[in-house]
Amino acid sequence: MSTDTPRGSDAELSTEETAELLKRIEELETEVADLRTEVDEDSNKMVIIATKGTLDMAYPPLILASTAAAFGYDVTVFHTFWGLEILHEENSKDLKLSSVGNPNMPVPNVIAALPGMDRMTTRMMRGKIAGNDVASVEELIETSLDQGVDLQACQMTIDLLGYDEDDFYDGVTTGVGAASAFQEMEDADIQLLV
């Protein structure tokens, strides 16, 4: 019978009804305990989609990924479009900063657009990074891989940009696409697009 049948305030439960309710409580307690075990066993998971390949935008995904790993998270970073540059062993050492369209730059756009300006602002930024004890992109990649972060390179954009699987750091996962990224995001507690 249904347990939510409305009753008058003077109604009393029969012995069978009480037994049935007690049995139901026991079943629910078991179910809650099972769910709790399941939740505890499931480790936390974070997925980041990294889409940018400039020097400044290489840092947020790598710093968050390695930090989350230190918090015990399973972490996947899916690199697509210009985000691939971060995982490209050669290009990652030469990521640039754009001086145009960045209002935080100390020079106006008309000057920032002159040839050689990106190189200059990039050099300034690299100087600041080194001077402030901030790790290099390469160090953060190695640290992330050491911690078991799954750094993935989107196969479609590898093909689109004409890269080879060997161009990437050892330990980078290739041969993955949007569906596998989505599947991981579905299971994740935190999903970020950077």
Partner: protein, 83 residues
């Protein structure tokens, strides 16, 4: 020093996120009851290591100290493995 430590990890001269990552790495090698000392120069480590310890089930932050050593600010953190 008031806190007995088993291991020390030196992350002086390293900025975010390395102090937390190195802390986690060294912490994993401890057994229950042991205490890790982390020595950092990153002022953000005060908040970061506290946050990490609060979110980590078997870590308890026993103490955090700030001192000036050889003209630079040094932050010492004491994290105990509880189980």
């Amino acid at each position: 020093m008031s806190t007995d430590t088993t291991e020390t990890v030196d992350v002086k001269g390293q900025n975010c996120p390395m102090p937390v990552i190195k802390t986690k790495g060294a912490f994993d090698d401890l057994v229950a009851g042991e205490t890790l000392e982390v020595v950092a120069t990153d002022s953000g480590s005060m908040s970061d290591i506290k946050g990490w310890a609060e979110s980590t089930d078997d870590a308890e932050l026993l103490d955090q100290k700030e001192a000036t050593e050889n003209g630079e600010a040094v932050y010492r953190h004491y994290v105990q493995k509880t189980e």
